[in-house]
Each structure stands twice: as structure tokens, then as C-alpha cells.
């Protein structure tokens, strides 16, 4: 007899009490109550499971950040827990989608808040479809301080042809500010700028270049004008970080 049928058999209505003695009836009634409780429990558990799912879904919908994290295989290496090809993607609810991936991410066993990343690639797609890509050879993510420090050969390429080259960038994920204490170079079809240091304060909406700044503006280049483009992608060969200045 399958579980459900056996249960109904226990149901008090379906069975005559034996020779009517009171304690046997009492015993039997207790058993029946027991089985009802068990049946209620058996029904409740799946309901609880479903409820949990709903909560999780509601939570993500409420925070409107759907994060999907997929990781290649996971292995313990000398330096720490290594994740192969982690890939994080999500949307910020205002229509901007972002993806961050790395060739490898190693969590430092001595300090698990530190994750060392190799071969980082991040891209942000704006509502209007314009796209910004950031590539860096290596970086360190500190989950306690909520900072990402990118190192080595940081390249910024945007869909409108503008680009940038940095050697180091410290990003504060909480305030959205970025600072670089080594040479930076940016170019777009309207001109180029290079400096020894740079700081971006997102909330204040200010960008500060310092330590010696050189900038070239092409007044001739209208926004739609695709005339002589300054070197939109500063040649990586330009190692000292300063973009070439087009002589007038």
C-alpha cells in the first residue's frame, strides 16, 4: 500500500475500535492524531521548500540585481583556493548590464578577504547600447575594504572609439572613485590627454589629472565627424603612457 493509502487507513474514521475497551480506544485515537501530525508535516515540508524559493526570488527581484556567478573548476593551490575562469554578470536595474570575468581568481588562504585576479575583463553596456570595455592583466580584490586594485597594462576601449591606457588603478567600489598614481593616457576622436597621475570622484563629478598634464583638442572634430581620428587606441608600444601629441 503506498504511503498515502496507508495513511488513510489510519484515519480514525476508517477503522472500527477492537473490543471497545477505553484505553485501547484512547491508544488508537492518539495514534490517529500522530498520523495526522505526520501527514501535516509531510505536506508542510515541500510547501516550506517552495516558500524558500519564493523568498529567494523575491529577494533578487526586490534588489533587482540578478547576479549569476559561474566558476570553472575549483582547486586548492599553494597560494590559496583557485577558481578557474570566474564569470560574474548582472544588471543594476537601471538598464545597465555589466559582466566581469577573469582567467583565474585565487583566494588567499592566509587572508580570505583578498582575491588575486589574472586576465581581467570587464564590460558595461549602457542603456543606449554604448559599451565600455576594461582589460587588465592582473588585479587584487579586497572584499573587506571593497576595493579593486588593477595592475599591469590596463586598457579601456569604448564603442565610440575612445580609449585609455593606465598602468595602475585603485577603484573604491563603495564610493565609485578611482585613483591612479602612475601615467595615464586617454584619447577620443576629439583629442588626447596624458598625465602622470589621475583621480576620479564619481559623486562629486570631478576628474583630476596632475603631475604634469598634456592635452590636445581637435576643434575641427565635430561629435559625428569621423575625420582624421587621433590614435583612438593609444598604441600599447607607447609604454611611457603619454599618448602621442599630434603636431599642428
Amino acid at each position: 500500500m503506498s504511503g498515502i493509502a496507508a495513511n488513510r487507513a489510519f484515519d480514525s474514521g476508517g477503522m472500527e475500535p477492537f473490543d471497545g475497551s477505553a484505553d485501547r480506544v484512547r491508544l488508537f485515537a492518539m495514534a490517529a492524531r500522530e498520523s495526522r501530525r505526520v501527514r501535516r508535516l509531510r505536506l508542510m515540508l515541500p510547501a516550506l521548500g517552495a516558500l524558500l524559493c519564493v523568498i529567494v526570488i523575491v529577494a533578487t527581484v526586490v534588489t533587482r540585481i540578478s547576479i549569476s556567478l559561474s566558476i570553472g573548476d575549483l582547486k586548492i593551490t599553494a597560494e590559496g583556493l583557485a577558481m578557474d575562469a570566474p564569470h560574474l554578470s548582472g544588471s543594476d536595474g537601471k538598464g545597465r548590464t555589466y559582466t566581469v570575468s577573469a582567467e583565474s581568481a585565487v583566494q588567499d588562504l592566509s587572508d580570505t578577504r583578498i582575491i588575486r585576479l589574472k586576465g581581467i575583463e570587464a564590460s558595461v553596456i549602457q542603456v543606449d547600447g554604448s559599451r565600455a570595455n576594461l582589460l587588465a592583466d592582473s588585479g587584487v580584490y579586497d572584499s573587506a575594504a571593497q576595493t579593486v586594485v588593477l595592475k599591469e597594462n590596463i586598457r579601456l576601449k569604448n564603442s565610440d572609439g575612445s580609449g585609455g591606457l593606465l598602468e595602475r588603478a585603485a577603484i573604491d567600489l563603495a564610493t565609485g572613485s578611482l585613483t591612479s598614481d602612475s601615467p595615464v593616457a586617454f584619447s577620443s576622436r576629439l583629442g588626447e590627454i596624458s598625465a602622470e597621475k589621475m583621480g576620479v570622484e564619481k559623486q562629486a563629478g570631478t576628474v583630476t589629472f596632475s603631475g604634469g598634464v598634456r592635452m590636445t583638442v581637435n576643434p575641427g572634430a565635430r561629435s559625428g565627424d569621423t575625420g582624421k581620428m587621433p590614435s583612438a587606441q593609444p598604441e600599447p608600444s607607447d609604454r611611457n603612457g603619454s599618448a602621442p601629441i599630434s603636431s599642428p
Binding site: G191, T206, G211, V213, M215, P219, G220, P248
Partner: protein
């Protein structure tokens, strides 16, 4: 007293006033304030375009559109402050401050202004240069004009 003189044609064409040549900026520091659409160059500021060079301690550039290049790029005004020196072809003009109005196409220098051309020197408190008409008008206070004698004979 007002002293008006004709400038050589298309002098001061530079500084993004009307020529399309690239403008080069150099300074120790640059702050871009996107909220009030200003870019402030600080420290040994040099701006070059074609023949024209501007040197000053501090230059505020007022622009429209976004600094990263989307949307129309318009520099509406430049304000230079502190030991301003504008040199162009055979002319130099210096003063304490200068304002370049790209809409009106004028440069206004103020604060013990000295305009020199070759050996000729004109001093005054305010110099208005109209790029379209190449007209320079020195105004205010005692306008001193020093004309080197030989420069009169040389040119008719």
C-alpha cells in the same frame, strides 16, 4: 583716452577662436568639474594653437557637452588669471587677466596691459581685441604709446 590700432590680419586667429588647428594644452594640473562644465588648468599653463600661444598661471575653460566626447563639443569661454601672456606672430599682449569669448570672438585683457608689436609699446588698463575685425582697442587710464622712430620710417 582710447587708442585704436589695426592689427596685422588674422593675428590671434589661434586659441580655438576660429581656426580648426588642434589646440595643445599643457599645465601642472587639470581639474574637470562635470557638474558645472568647467575644466581648470593650474600651474604654468601653456596653450598653443598655430601661431598663437597663451601662457598664464590659471585657465578656466567653460564647455558644453560631455568631456568624454559624446554630444556637441563647445568651448564657450576661457578665463585666464595670473601673468597672462598672449603671443601671436609679431604681437604680444600681457596683463593680469584675460577672457576669451569664443561666441563674440573677442579677447579682453585687463590689469596693467602691455601690447607690443616689434618696438612699439602700448600700455593701458584694458585691451579689447576683436578677432573678426582684427581691431585692437586699448582703453582706460593713461594710455602710453611708445613708437620706435625707426619703425615709422620702415613701414609707410
Amino acid at each position: 583716452a582710447e587708442q585704436t590700432g589695426k592689427l596685422p590680419p588674422n593675428s590671434y586667429q589661434g586659441l580655438g577662436m576660429s581656426s580648426n588647428q588642434p589646440i595643445q594644452f599643457e599645465s601642472e594640473q587639470l581639474e574637470v568639474h562635470d557638474q558645472d562644465k568647467t575644466a581648470v588648468f593650474i600651474g604654468h599653463v601653456i596653450v598653443r594653437q598655430g601661431e598663437t600661444v597663451l601662457k598664464t598661471d590659471r585657465l578656466v575653460v567653460y564647455y558644453q557637452g560631455s568631456p568624454t566626447g559624446e554630444g556637441p563639443q563647445q568651448v564657450s569661454r576661457l578665463d585666464a588669471k595670473g601673468s597672462v601672456l598672449v603671443t601671436s606672430a609679431a604681437q604680444t599682449a600681457s596683463g593680469d587677466a584675460a577672457t576669451f569669448d569664443t561666441a563674440a570672438n573677442t579677447i579682453v585683457l585687463t590689469g596693467n596691459v602691455v601690447l607690443t608689436q616689434g618696438d612699439n609699446v602700448i600700455r593701458g588698463s584694458k585691451l579689447l581685441i576683436d578677432i573678426n575685425t582684427s581691431q585692437a582697442t586699448m582703453q582706460g587710464g593713461r594710455v602710453q604709446m611708445l613708437i620706435a622712430p625707426k619703425s615709422l620710417d620702415a613701414k609707410g
